[in-house]
């Protein structure tokens, strides 16, 4: 298994509160991602990072911000959580330079419920 740890794994929060999900990797991979999985939508990219302090938006970035201050950590922040952000969030990593091709490795997911 790829060394990806997501925290928290499960969280229930109230509408309007800020929430931060953390992803920590031990593989020294360059690229890190945040996806969300929803019924009828599959997996959708929220943001990704291509290096420390370097990030780019995915297809569903509205309402989310990210930060990467260290190679191993990628944080996803919901500034003011809404019920539409109830979802399963997956962190992922990849690094073609490490001989793994362009394979994206996923963490185990974080279940977020906004009530």
């Amino acid at each position: 298994d790829a060394g990806i740890t997501q925290s928290p794994r499960h969280k229930v929060t109230e509408t309007g509160t800020p929430v931060t999900l953390r992803c920590h990797q031990t593989e020294n991979h360059r690229y890190m991602y945040w996806y969300r999985q929803d019924p009828g939508h599959g997996l959708r990219l929220i943001h990704y990072s291509y290096g420390v302090k370097d990030t780019d938006k995915g297809e569903v970035s509205d309402g989310y911000s990210v930060s990467r201050s260290k190679t191993e950590d990628f944080l996803l922040t919901l500034e003011s959580a809404t019920s539409s952000q109830t979802s399963v969030y997956f962190c992922a990593i990849s690094d073609p330079g490490q001989g793994t091709g362009n394979t994206i490795y996923f963490g185990e997911g974080s279940w977020l419920t906004v009530v």
Binding site: G42, L43, G109
Partner: protein
């Protein structure tokens, strides 16, 4: 706008038979395709990929076929085993754009059940 479509939400197959999972895409710029497998309460895991310069790629029991003119790909699993029961996601990317390898578009998934 679903650019990668998996029109069958579920599929049941007898153990030992062939499983065929289908995927259609609408973006003609997609040139790299992948299949991921996902068990409940786990993250997706990479299964197999294919570049648009090929029409077939095989890895053990898994074969992916690509029909560019029809914008269609399929994943064949032969023979199917109970451990193959999972959700399978088709995915695609456009390698000509900046970050193409990173901006992967996933389908909605097909749940495969292999019956012993």
């Amino acid at each position: 706008d679903q650019q990668v479509k998996q029109n069958s939400p579920s599929l049941s197959v007898q153990e030992g038979r062939i499983s065929i999972l289908n995927c259609d895409y609408t973006n003609s710029m997609f040139d790299y395709f992948l299949w991921y497998k996902k068990y409940p309460a786990e993250g997706p895991t990479f299964l197999i990929s294919i570049s648009s310069i090929k029409d077939k790629n095989e890895d053990g029991r898994f074969t992916v076929f690509l029909n560019k003119s029809a914008k269609h790909l399929s994943l064949h699993i032969v023979p199917s085993q109970p451990g193959d029961s999972a959700v399978y996601f088709c995915a695609a990317s456009d390698l000509s754009v900046s970050g193409g390898y990173q901006k992967v578009t996933f389908g909605t998934g097909t749940k495969l059940q292999v019956i012993p």
